[in-house]
Structure formats: structure tokens, C-alpha cells
Amino acid sequence: MIRINNLYKNFGSLEVLKDVNCHVQEKEVVVVIGPSGSGKSTMLRCINKLEDATGGEIVVDNIPLNSEANINAIRQEVGMVFQRFNLFPHMKALDNITLAPMKVRGMSKDEAVVIARDLLNKVGLADKADAYPDQLSGGQQQRVAIARALAMRPKVMLFDEPTSALDPEMVGEVLGVMKDLAKEGMTMVVVTHEMGFAREVGDRVIFMDEGRIIEEGTPEEIFNNPKNERLKGFLSKVL
């Protein structure tokens, strides 16, 4: 579903990604872990071209990420959830969700509203359709953001530290929604510090450090039998 080959990314003279190779299969849940500044988020943001790769090749759903038309096509296939939610503050929750299906997919308002209500129901916020983002808690906002991304019927969902900006008691509700999504067979790439989630939901865990993929494997292999010293050091700090 996603093929990343020889991906390089520099910010000025700073090398953030160095020869990253990563393939994600359909219906696979890949969890990316690693210390801050290891390039996890940057890799994720390269997949839908929020960052311009310096070198390498990215193919999503057989569409190469190499032209303006393809970028928009890929973005319609790839949903993204951000650390800071990025809901549109001037729109009600429902309108946040219906906007892109109407403007990008050309869906009618009625059709989009049916889908949006269905998704709000799914993330447990059926009663918050008319609330503005600043009337919602962080956890609620993030669940609306997930519904907003799902409304485009994406084939892949990217999660960029979706629980890092949340109060601890709200982390569970967001992870719960993500778990349900994984069970339904959504292809997901999740950058997170939630090791419990990685262990429980991940099909594969990727450990990144200093812009490289250092080790990857099943949660079992990564958490119970880490080989690389840096991974061992990282796990000893976070577990």
C-alpha cells in the first residue's frame, strides 16, 4: 500500500532522514517509535507531501508521489491525524467533517451529513455535531479530527503522535477509537510514544533513531527481544 524507498530529507544542512526504506502492506498497522527528533514525524509527513523529500521515492496505492496532480490524488487516499488536532475553529464539528467530502469529492450536503453523523456516532460524539472545537475537550477534538479524516474514505490513515497533546485521562478514548479502526482492517501508520498501544495493536513496530530505521519487527520481537543497543536503551527509558 505504501512503498518508501531510499528516502532522504534535509532541513538545510541538517539530515533528518537518511536512506529510509519502509513498505506498508494493506490492512497492516505499523507503529513507529523512537526518541524525539529521530525523524518519525518527518517520515510520516513525507508520505502525504506535507514535507518535501530531498531524495528517494514514495508510492502510495500505486500512485507515485511525483506530480501536483498525484499529490492531491494521494492526499485523498491518505487521512492524517495531527498531534494538535488542527480542527477548523470557525466551523462546527459536523461542518469540519463534511467540508472536504463536499469540496473535494463533490458530495452533496445531505450525503456528506449522513456520513458525518455516522462517523461522529462511531467515535462516540453523536451529541457533539453542533459544538465548536473550543467547546470540546482535547480528547473529543481529536476524535472529531479522526472522523474528519475518515470522511474522505481514505485507504490509509497516518497518525502523528495523536495522543501527545492530550491530558492523560483522555488518551484512552482516542486510542480506543484507533483500536476499533485497526480491527476493521484500516491500513495505519502510527507515530506514538504509547508503547502499550504499539504492543497491543501494532502488526509491526519500527524503531527509528537519528533519521534511520534501526530495527523493525513484530511487537513481540521489538519489546521482548530487542537486538540493537540503542533500542534496548530507548525501551529501558520508556517502559
Binding site: N48, L50, N72, F82, H90, V104, P133, M152
Partner: protein
């Protein structure tokens, strides 16, 4: 101080004040349209558009409005462009001038919106222009209301400069009153009082709009 004179000329000056307000409203209204375009050009991904907007804004902010008024009212006819009347010249000069300032106001407003908003919109597959129109501009419009109010007040005062091309606004009428009565103090003090009432009214309206927006913040 001759109060009787002031009372006698007040309706005459108020006639001018009406034109002053009309010129200002039109200047700010057309200037806002121009300003949105300039603001968008200033932040556009196309370098050529950015340079064009910067050049325009630098010229109209970096030269005196008085010079611009003469250029438009007397310079353009020399090139065969006839604007018809002093009032037309005045509206065009005020629009072009305020457009430059309002363009910078909109640029700042657009750039004050969190980057994540554009990223979220683009990640949903919306084009740059769709994201601007549905996500960035509606939020920016709210933030620019206070500085836009200031620009309104500035333009109202600056519109007195068009008296030099005999557009019969408040300042021109005050000049006429002074010329016929030989009482400059009464003439200009009355004009000043009318300008002051107008600017205070506008700042009250802006403050009211700001309060309304604050209670319903971000909606």
C-alpha cells in the same frame, strides 16, 4: 470666536462631511477588495506575484498620498486617461493608497493563522485555493477587523488631502468658508470638531465589533 458664523456655516460643512464619509467608505471598501488580492499575492507560492505585490505596496506606502493624488488627477489626463471628475480621482487615489495598507493587514492576518490549519486542509485533499477560501481567509477576516478599523480612521483623516484637487469634501468646504469669511479659526476648528466626531464614532463601532467577536471568539 464667532458662534453665529459657525452655526450659519454648519450645514454647508456637514454637506462636505457627507462626501468625506462617502469617499472614505468607498476607499476602504474598494481598498479591501484590492487588499485581499494583494495580501494573497504577498503569501502566494509564486515569486512573481509576491514581487508584484511588494512593488505595489512599497510604492503606495513609500510615497506621499498628496503626490499620488496629483499623479492621478493631473498626471493621468496628460497620458490621455480622463477620470471625469475630481471625485473620481479622489476615490481612485484613496482606493489605491488604502489598498496597499490593507494588503499588508491581510498578509499579517493570513500569516497569523496557525500553519496546522493549512496542513490539515491540504491533507484532506483540498487545493491551495480551496484551503485559503474555506479555512484560512474566514479566520483571517476576523483577526483583521481591529487593524482595518484603524485604517478606516486614518483614511478618513487623509481624505482631507483631496481638497487640493477641489473635491468638495469637508476640508474643501472649510477652505471656502475661510476664504469668504476671513475667519480661519472658526472654519478650521469646526472642521476639526466634525472630523473628531467622525473618528470617535468609528473607533466606538470598531470597539463594539471587537467585543462582539470576542464573546463569540473563533466562531
Amino acid at each position: 470666536m464667532n458662534w453665529e458664523l459657525i452655526v450659519r456655516y454648519l450645514p454647508y460643512l456637514l454637506e462636505g462631511a457627507v462626501l468625506t464619509v462617502q469617499l472614505t467608505v468607498m476607499g476602504v471598501a474598494f481598498g479591501s477588495v484590492l487588499g485581499v488580492i494583494l495580501g494573497l499575492a504577498r503569501v502566494s507560492p509564486f515569486r512573481f506575484l509576491r514581487w508584484l505585490a511588494i512593488g505595489y505596496i512599497d510604492f503606495f506606502r513609500g510615497t506621499p498620498l498628496l503626490v499620488q493624488i496629483f499623479l492621478i488627477h493631473m498626471g493621468l489626463p496628460q497620458l490621455g486617461i480622463d477620470l471625469g471628475s475630481a471625485i473620481n480621482s479622489a476615490i481612485i487615489a484613496l482606493t489605491l493608497n488604502s489598498g496597499a495598507y490593507i494588503g499588508e493587514i491581510f498578509r499579517a492576518g493570513i500569516q497569523s493563522i496557525d500553519r496546522g490549519q493549512m496542513e490539515a486542509a491540504r491533507s484532506l485533499g483540498m487545493s491551495y485555493l480551496q484551503s485559503m477560501r474555506h479555512i484560512i481567509l474566514p479566520q483571517a477576516f476576523k483577526r483583521v477587523i481591529p487593524p482595518l478599523g484603524n485604517e478606516f480612521i486614518t483614511l478618513l483623516k487623509d481624505s482631507s488631502l483631496v481638497s487640493v484637487i477641489s473635491a468638495e469634501e469637508l476640508m474643501m468646504k472649510a477652505n471656502v468658508m475661510q476664504g469668504t469669511t476671513y475667519r480661519p479659526f472658526e472654519a478650521y476648528l469646526t472642521a476639526a470638531a466634525i472630523y473628531l466626531i467622525l473618528t470617535l464614532t468609528i473607533s466606538q463601532l470598531v470597539a463594539y465589533a471587537e467585543r462582539r467577536l470576542k464573546t463569540g471568539d473563533s466562531h
